[in-house]
């Protein structure tokens, strides 16, 4: 019987550490050479086995390749020309290949034991296996049975080996660190795919004892996030990656969509407006009260000075949602909508004109006119989102958030101002509810694309940027986690990216890589980043002392473009068809003739108002409720159970007109 041999005896030797006076090894960097055909490259993780015991232990050093050199024994390129008689075609005819070296530089990921930290010894180099990768990236600390907080982010591949790479949930969703940023060029960097995959991974692997987690995704452009619940095509390679990472290759189980109406109303302003997709789409509409809380988002600071601010505060506190009377006004006001607010403004201005006065309750008439102009303008700028009647349809902030659910807020078709308003209000409400522990979940991931736009480094301060900074700096304590994506990380506010514990990089623009922030990466890694293939990411995480390259599977989700082809947007849908489609979602007994009847009988706005009220109330008998909202002019016959028409009685032959009745 023989003793078991150490691992390194069985593993093939990949290379050997070398050091010269000009190119010495240090505790954080070393060099090694390999055979020309060794299966290594930039990003490969290797293990060096020391030659002499240190404090009784043979040290193991783990490193990741950051640079590679290859050269031959030629002193000058001219020598090769000379040897081939100037003919490149004959160069390969030489009976012997020139001696060639592959010399790699690796950055130390970890030394075991950690102390004393010495220069890397001249040991043999092995390709890291699964276990080595876990140790090298210090994942062993959070992959322990019973204390497992690993969230798969992809698979590290090298030399035919696939090792899952895990992020630490405590450092991704808090409380130790939090937030993630994704950087890459548009189209090729797979930013959206990476986020979709990462959310799937979190929903699958986030430990139940850490609480409930949900995601709120702002769809700011295109239809990419509009089909998260629809299966898409993946190949066997993707399936293998899903299997390796322990993540089901399925679309999201629970997704809720929220979208405002089009400016005309009636039709939801989203790629999900198709009748086949409306089952989990809710309108996102806010009334005056909701909007006024975040009026700062929409008001230009140059326009709205301290005086205007004071008037807005007055309106917010004294006018909105309460009976307001003033001896100077013609009547008392109950302001719940923009229309009612405008009436109130008109009354105030009329009173001032009548009195020929310049101020009312210390507010100058010019300020009143300016604030009226700016506030009433909001309803126009945010048409479809802001309702005239004050009714609101919102995300389930009042404890209704469900575990492992994605809430997509589709604002892709809104004006920029309106997008800002939605973002500010949703995030503020999330924050408020998380602070109160009344959201229904313990952690919320907020995904925002185009951070360049929302939190730029070199633009005037905005309300939205302040909010993003606030989340980045304090969100982790609340469970509010920011996942941001951008094309140019260098142009995002440094406090936003600096507070992100995890950074993911897809294919990068060469100009972006020239920014000072990337100076810590080796030229070879920068080159690799500029040519990274789809589905590959470079990952930085607090536990990883060096960035690591991983592959992740394509999300098993219908691609936005495919979804848009399958369910084309019905831009020209008639109002009756749109109302019918939405009513049908509430009650399958709804019919198009019923809707057409109501539109014939009633004002368009009244029908839409009735519809919104029905959607908000979600009554047991939606059709009945809908009709009741439309008032007296509703036809007596219910389309649900239409009363049988009275048969035309056959009159007596001598009284064909029934006069005798």
């Amino acid at each position: 019987m023989t003793d078991a041999l150490p691992d390194e005896v069985h593993a093939p030797v990949l290379g050997r550490v070398v050091a010269t006076e000009k190119r010495p090894n240090t505790p954080h960097q070393f060099h090694f050479w390999t055979a020309v055909d060794a299966p290594v490259g930039i990003g490969t993780i290797v293990r060096v086995v020391g030659t002499h015991p240190v404090s009784g232990v043979i040290p193991s050093i783990y490193g990741v390749i950051t640079d590679a050199l290859g050269y031959s024994d030629l002193e000058s390129p001219l020598h090769d020309v000379l040897g081939a008689d100037g003919s490149p075609a004959t160069a390969n005819a030489a009976p012997t290949r020139r001696t060639e070296i592959r010399l790699y530089t690796a950055a130390v990921l970890r030394q075991v034991p950690d102390e004393p930290m010495q220069p890397v010894p001249m040991g043999q180099v092995f390709l890291a296996d699964d276990q080595d990768v876990a140790i090298a990236l210090r994942m062993d600390g959070y992959l322990r049975e019973g204390a497992r907080t690993g969230i798969p982010v992809g698979v590290y591949t090298a030399g035919g080996m696939q090792a899952p790479i895990y992020l630490d949930a405590d450092f991704l969703l808090g409380p130790e660190a939090a937030h993630a940023t994704l950087t890459g060029v548009s189209g090729l960097a797979t930013k959206t795919s990476a986020v979709e995959f990462l959310l799937q991974s979190i929903f699958t692997h986030f430990p139940a004892q850490k609480g409930k987690v949900a995601a709120v995704c702002f769809n700011v452009k295109g239809p990419d996030l509009c089909y998260l619940d629809m299966p898409g095509e993946i190949d066997d390679q993707d399936r293998a990656l899903y299997a390796a990472l322990g993540i089901p290759a399925t679309p999201f189980e629970r997704v809720q969509y929220f979208a405002p109406y089009t400016a005309r109303g009636g039709v939801l302003n989203t790629a999900r407006a198709h009748p086949d997709l409306l089952h989990n789409v809710s309108p996102l509409t806010w009334g005056l009260t909701q909007v006024l809380q975040y009026a700062e988002v929409l008001l230009n600071k140059d326009d709205v000075d301290a005086k205007a601010d004071a008037l807005i505060d007055f309106i917010r506190e004294q006018v909105v949602e309460r009976e307001f009377s003033d001896g100077m006004l013609a009547r008392s006001h109950l302001v719940r909508s923009f229309a009612e607010l405008d009436d109130w403004f008109k009354d105030v201005l009329r009173a001032l004109e009548q009195k020929d006065d310049q101020s009312w309750r210390t507010h100058h008439v010019a300020t009143i006119r300016k604030v009226r102009n700016r506030l009433i303008n909001i309803a126009t700028r945010c048409a479809g989102l802001v309702t005239d009647d004050g009714s609101a349809s919102d995300l389930p902030f009042e404890g209704g958030f469900a575990d492992r659910t994605v809430y997509v807020v589709d604002v892709a078709n809104l004006e920029e101002d309106a997008q800002d308003l939605v973002f500010a209000r949703v995030v503020s409400r999330l924050r408020e509810q998380l602070e109160r522990r009344e959201l229904g979940v313990d952690h919320v991931i907020v995904f925002v694309d185009e951070l360049n736009k929302y939190a730029p480094s070199d633009a005037p301060d905005t309300y939205v940027r302040q909010m993003l900074l606030d989340i980045a700096e304090r969100g982790r304590y609340l469970g509010l986690v920011l996942f941001g994506a951008q094309q140019f990380r260098s142009q995002v506010h440094r406090r936003v990216v600096g507070n992100a514990g995890t950074s993911l990089f897809g294919r990068m623009d060469a100009d972006e890589l020239a920014a000072p922030g990337y100076a810590t990466l080796s030229p070879a890694i920068r080159t690799k980043l500029s040519a990274l293939e789809k589905g590959t990411l470079m990952v930085r995480h607090p536990h990883f002392t060096q960035p690591v390259f991983v592959r992740f599977p394509r999300p098993a989700i219908l691609r936005g473009r495919d979804g848009a082809d399958r369910w084309p947007r019905q831009h020209d849908a008639s109002l009756d068809a749109a109302v019918y489609a939405r009513l049908w979602q509430l009650d399958a007994s709804a019919t198009l003739p019923l809707v057409q009847d109501q539109l014939a009988l009633h004002d368009e706005k009244a029908v839409l108002k009735a519809l919104r009220a029905t959607e908000l109330a979600r009554p047991k008998e939606p059709i009945k409720f809908f009709l009741s909202q439309l008032g007296r002019r509703v036809a007596a016959s219910s389309p649900i159970r239409p009363e049988p028409r009275r048969p035309v009685q056959a009159g007596p032959a001598d009284d064909p007109y029934g006069f005798g009745d």
């Binding site: 020598h79 090769d80 000379l82 030489a94 009976p95 012997t96 290949r97 020139r98």
Partner: protein, 318 residues
């Protein structure tokens, strides 16, 4: 044993250590051997002729052999220099156009005159390392101190040649391919008689031509050779030899790019058969002009395979 260890050992035995002395190989003047002409016996033609090596199947070289030596004075016992010698040899075989070590060997020794140094010095050195007696076969009586260094140098050289011959002999005994040897092959009968060996001589202190034929060498163009002659010597096995121009000497000295080849004699071979054989060998050596052996200063006459052997030995003997 490294030179440093040998130096420490000898110092501990009372010798006066020397550091910083250059290698004996560098100190020897390359022109110490007088240039000479030797009239060789022609074997391929009645008089020495030039012939262009025709196109055809080249003899395929399968391996390269070269050796290396390094000797230096490390101490003095009185005026007598004590020398450390390190010799090595390697055969680098070629598979799929890539060279790798087939066999390599190296030894170190201290070279000192036993009759001159104190008995305890000899005994102590012999205990811990290989020792070579440089006073063996030396004339009786006092010697000039530099003569001991010369004797040591030649014995180191002999040790290197012995290693080379041993490797070459092993090759011809066990392998079937052609071995390209750096230098002459006549000193070892096993090697000199093997059809698997071609020796390639790069230096020409001795020219095996006489009379008008000397001018013939200058007229050789790249790809041309002389007809073959025999090299005979009482202490060497007779071998066939001929000159081959690897590179044109335009604008350079007349012997630029000129090598002399040695192969085993082919007694009884028909004239045409012999010529065809020598042409095939010549084509094989000409093929080894690429890759060029630059930056070695002898690149015009050195094959890349021999340079590879030298680099290997330089690395392992450093």
């Amino acid at each position: 044993m490294t030179p440093e260890a040998a130096r420490r050992l000898l110092a501990s035995l009372g010798a006066r250590p020397v550091s910083g002395a250059g290698g004996l190989e560098l100190q020897r003047d390359a022109s110490a051997d007088p240039p000479r002409l030797v009239d060789a016996e022609l074997r391929e033609s009645r008089r020495l002729e030039v012939r262009a090596v025709p196109d055809g199947q080249a003899a395929r070289v399968d391996a390269f052999l070269d050796g290396r030596q390094a000797s230096q004075v490390i101490a003095h016992a009185g005026l007598v220099p004590l020398v450390h010698g390190h010799v090595g040899a390697v055969i680098r075989a070629r598979h799929d156009r890539t060279l790798s070590t087939w066999r390599a060997s190296q030894t170190t020794a201290i070279y000192l005159p036993r009759t001159v140094v104190a008995p305890d010095v000899w005994a102590r050195c012999a205990e811990v390392t290989e020792v070579v007696d440089t006073s063996r076969d030396a004339a009786d009586g006092p010697q000039h101190p530099l003569a001991w260094a010369d004797r040591a140098y030649h014995q180191v050289q002999a040790a290197r040649e012995a290693l080379e011959h041993a490797l070459a002999a092993e090759w011809v005994a066990t392998q079937g391919g052609l071995l390209y040897v750096d230098g002459g092959i006549g000193k070892d009968d096993r090697v000199a008689t093997s059809p698997q060996v071609v020796g390639v001589i790069k230096s020409h202190r001795t020219l095996y031509v006489a009379g008008d034929a000397v001018g013939l060498l200058a007229s050789l163009r790249a790809g041309e050779r002389t007809t073959a002659f025999a090299i005979t010597s009482p202490r060497r096995t007779t071998v066939l030899s001929w000159y081959l121009r690897l590179r044109d000497p335009d604008g350079r000295e007349p012997l630029f790019g000129l090598v002399r080849l040695e192969v085993a004699t082919r007694e009884g071979a028909a004239a045409g058969e012999l010529t065809a054989h020598l042409d095939a060998i010549s084509r094989g050596v000409l093929a080894e002009r690429a890759p060029v052996a630059l930056p070695d200063r002898r690149w015009a006459v050195m094959s890349y395979g021999i340079r590879d052997c030298e680099e290997y030995l330089r690395a392992v003997m450093a």
